[in-house]
């Protein structure tokens, strides 16, 4: 009797042991080079099953490259991938998934015009499964992880978080034992983040899967992960069991650490922008009357889930959308026929989230950009002068690039720096959409330092961000939007990112 139980226990133990062996992921001296840039420099790491790993690093540290190699999207120049001790050579993401490695990309790689079910079916091996059976399987799987997904909904109608859940389910149904999640919390609500994290814990603790979270948000990594690997400039610089003091991780991620300077209160008692019962209507969303005040030198952060109306308000302030009601006052003066050219004349600048779509011109060099914004009306362009200007801006704003570089070849952070460089001096108001999206901590701090300097000169700032920490830390005043209306306006000192997270979900 006892012996039988013992035997059963040891079989269990053996099975667990076997499972561990099978799902262990080992990367050995992975090396990948793009031109002269070494993205991964002889990186060796080991991921054990049943655990959640954080992969940390600055922008360009090589996190994405390493994960793309592991998920079969790119091939390493040297080095090997071992799954359960067996060497793998993935020629495509499909092969990687067949071997059990699935990756969830930051922007879900699905087909927006397809229905949820069609996206789920695409790429699944034809197994004689009828669409109805597949829909049932999908719903059952969704339920298991606490997701709520209608298989017949169009994917374009889903929120970012739901699209992510769909991708996750698809990977799981495809047999993923190792799941890589690349910045999964960008652009999803606090509630969806909780659901996602809960499902990740289930996957690791109960189902013994290996999870790798690529992120630069330390708090999330601390909250969720058991262990963190840190990459810096293409090299693995260390690993730490979590939780640990943030300071330790930060010191691994960056050479030196500049402490964030305390926020200065720069509000001056001169009105910069005043909105009185402003309404904006578009085909999709109607923004209910909004009244807000902004003093010179103040920062007003607009928080809310994507599409809650805060972007509409920002665009209306920039004169890019017509007001359908209410009035807008700039510096105390009423502006009945507000439009973008007028806004520019009045010292209002607008920085769109799509840097290459709306802010910069892909295909033009930095010098050509300078020429484009210089307001000289001659027939010919003074190229040497503009080149000199570009050089000046490159050094003042610490842009990594040459006057002859094409703008699209710069990294996101450098594009944003150059956008700031092109802003005219002495602005009354700067309007920004996601000013630091996709930038690392250092570039983010740098950009806000630049903004602080402008604030000291009396420039007011109105910005939209999906990063609640950023809104809580950088604003004087915060306006929270939900479902097309201004839910609350509160001083930043009286709130926190956590509280904002609950507010934007619609909770009062």
């Amino acid at each position: 009797m006892l012996a039988a139980a013992h035997a059963a226990a040891s079989t269990d133990f053996f099975l667990v042991y076997l499972a561990n062996i099978i799902m262990q992921v080992q990367l050995n001296t992975i090396h990948k080079q793009f031109g002269s840039l070494v993205a991964n420099d002889e990186i060796s790491v080991l991921f054990e099953p049943g655990r959640i790993y954080g992969l940390l690093g600055e922008n360009g540290a090589g996190k994405s490259t390493l994960m793309k190699i592991l998920s079969g999207y790119q091939r390493p120049d040297r080095g090997e991938i071992l799954l359960g001790g067996a060497p793998q050579h993935f020629a495509s993401p499909r092969q990687a998934l067949a071997a059990g490695v699935g990756m969830l990309y930051q922007e879900p790689l699905d087909v927006p015009v397809f229905t949820v079910l069609e996206n789920y079916l695409l790429g699944r091996a034809a197994g004689g499964e009828s669409p109805r059976q597949a829909a049932r399987a999908l719903e059952a799987l969704a339920q298991r992880y606490g997701f709520d997904i209608d298989p017949h909904e169009h994917t374009s109608e889903l929120s970012m978080g739901e699209r992510q859940q769909l991708e996750l389910l698809r990977l799981l149904a495809g047999g993923a034992q190792v799941l890589i999640l690349d910045e999964p919390t960008t652009g999803i609500s606090a509630e969806q983040k909780d659901i996602l994290f809960a499902s990740m814990r289930t996957l690791a603790r109960e189902e013994g899967k290996t999870l790798i979270l690529v992120s630069h948000k330390l708090d999330e990594v601390q909250e969720l992960c058991d262990y963190a690997f840190v990459l810096r400039k293409g090299r693995l610089v260390g690993g730490l069991p979590l939780p640990c003091p943030n300071q330790q991780l930060v010191s691994l991620m960056f050479d030196e650490l500049a402490p964030r300077p305390a926020r200065r209160q720069l509000g001056q008692h001169a009105p910069a922008l005043s909105l009185q019962s402003v309404q904006v209507h578009t085909g999709r969303l109607e923004l209910e009357p909004v009244s807000l005040q902004l003093q010179a030198g103040q920062v007003l952060g607009l928080a809310g889930l994507e599409g809650s109306g805060q972007e509409l308000l920002l665009r209306a302030c920039a004169g890019l959308l017509p007001l359908s009601g209410g009035s807008l006052l700039l510096g105390g003066e009423s502006q009945p026929d507000w439009n973008y050219p007028l806004a520019r004349q009045h010292g209002v600048a607008y920085l769109a989230a799509g840097r290459l779509e709306e802010g910069l011109v892909a295909g033009l060099t930095l010098t050509e950009h300078m020429a484009l914004v210089s307001h000289t009306h001659g027939l010919l362009v003074d190229w040497p002068q503009n080149r000199k200007l570009a050089e000046q801006h490159i050094s003042t704003y610490q842009v990594v690039g040459q006057p002859e570089s094409y703008i699209e070849n710069l990294s996101g952070g450098n594009q944003q720096r150059f956008l700031f460089a092109m802003l005219p001096q002495n602005l009354k108001l700067i309007l920004m959409e996601h000013p630091t999206r996709g930038l690392d901590i250092r570039s983010t701090d740098w950009i806000w330092e630049q903004l602080d300097q402008r604030r000291a000169q009396g420039t007011a700032i109105l910005f939209v961000s999906a990063d609640l920490d950023e809104i809580a830390a950088r604003s004087d005043q915060i306006a929270v939007f939900s479902g097309g209306r201004l839910l609350r306006s509160l001083p930043a000192a009286e709130t926190s990112a956590d509280e904002l997270g609950h507010l934007i979900g619609g909770a009062l």
């Binding site: 999207y73 699905d110 069609e118």
Partner: protein, 331 residues
């Protein structure tokens, strides 16, 4: 005009539209996979000539259609190779090929102009042909018409109901996502571009061997561009495209009738009627106008079940395949 005449007119509209329907299905397949085959006008001309000559010399209609399909496939292959392999602009290649096909057909067809040749015989379907009204319109036609009608159904079914169709559409909508999921995007694009081209070729032969029998310089000139417009008009759906082709044929017939009734108005004015109608319908179906219309729909409608709304939205709105004409960099 009595009902027999009207039925005869409808039957003739359907016959006249048949080649256009085939060409529209072919181009829809190609564009859904992400390849714009702009050479259609030229390849229609050249394949019409090839079909006629092959059938004339061999005495076999089937061989005529095969030759025409081959010409259409080769044109599509050139577009596909140029864009998928050589990474050149699809629009530019297609446009040049359209010119080339036109000139080449005029040159090669010189000695076959206005010759009597073989034609597709009528083939009335037993039993069905005796259904009142529908029988004479749909079932007293010939193999080309039946093929065109069947092709619409099969294309729709293939695109929207089969796994292969799902993969085809994914290649045209979001090739990077398709690639990630193991779809051989480039291979599929080649396959469906060539298949679509072959259908365009068959449409060419349908003109020269059935609808507009024989060959003359510029025999089908303009029909390729019309088919391209109808693909857009049909929102990249074979069913709507076929309806568009028939509507186009009907408005042309209407123009003829109107011309007879109002002889004081110039013929060219009536020739513009189909185009005007197409612009109006395009405005109605393009998302920009459809969205506000849907938003202003009565409240009862807005409470309709989500499934109905989705269906209506699908019927009214149409957007081109998102990656139409864009190359994919695999790896």
């Amino acid at each position: 005009m009595d009902s027999t005449q009207l039925i005869a007119i409808f039957g003739s509209i359907l016959l006249q539209s048949a080649p256009l329907i085939i060409a529209v299905c072919g181009e829809t397949i190609s564009e859904r996979a992400g390849v714009i085959n702009l050479s259609m006008d030229g390849s229609l001309l050249l394949s019409a000539l090839a079909g006629f000559v092959a059938a004339l010399l061999s005495g076999s209609l089937l061989l005529g259609f095969v030759a025409a399909a081959a010409v259409g496939a080769v044109f599509a292959l050139i577009v596909a190779f140029g864009s998928l392999h050589l990474r050149q602009n699809q629009v530019a290649i297609g446009f040049v090929l359209a010119m080339l096909g036109d000139s080449l057909s005029a040159f090669l067809g010189q000695s076959y102009t206005r010759m009597p040749g073989p034609s597709v015989p009528a083939w009335h379907i037993p039993v069905l042909k005796d259904i009142p009204v529908l029988g004479p319109i749909f079932f007293r036609q010939d193999a080309v018409v039946y093929f065109a009608l069947l092709l619409v159904a099969v294309t729709w079914w293939f695109l929207f109901r089969t796994r292969a169709g799902l993969e085809l559409r994914s290649a045209g909508e979001r090739p990077e996502a398709a690639f990630t999921r193991g779809v051989a995007v480039r291979k599929l694009r080649y396959l469906y571009a060539v298949l679509g081209g072959a259908l365009v070729g068959i449409a060419g032969a349908a003109y020269s061997l059935d609808v507009k029998i024989g060959w003359a310089e510029g025999h089908t000139r303009g029909m390729g561009w019309i088919a391209l417009a109808i693909v857009i008009f049909g929102g990249w759906s074979p069913v709507r495209g076929a309806l568009g082709a028939v509507l186009f044929g009907a408005t042309k017939a209407l123009a003829t009738v109107l011309q007879r009734s109002f002889p004081q108005v110039a013929l060219v004015a009536f020739n513009a009627v189909p185009w005007l109608l197409m612009i109006v319908v395009l405005l109605l179906v393009s998302g920009k106008l459809a969205a506000p219309l849907l938003a202003r729909a009565p409240a009862t409608w807005r409470r309709a079940p989500a499934a109905w709304r989705r269906t209506l939205r699908g019927l009214l709105q149409a957007a081109p395949p998102a990656a139409l004409g864009q190359p994919l960099d695999e790896q």
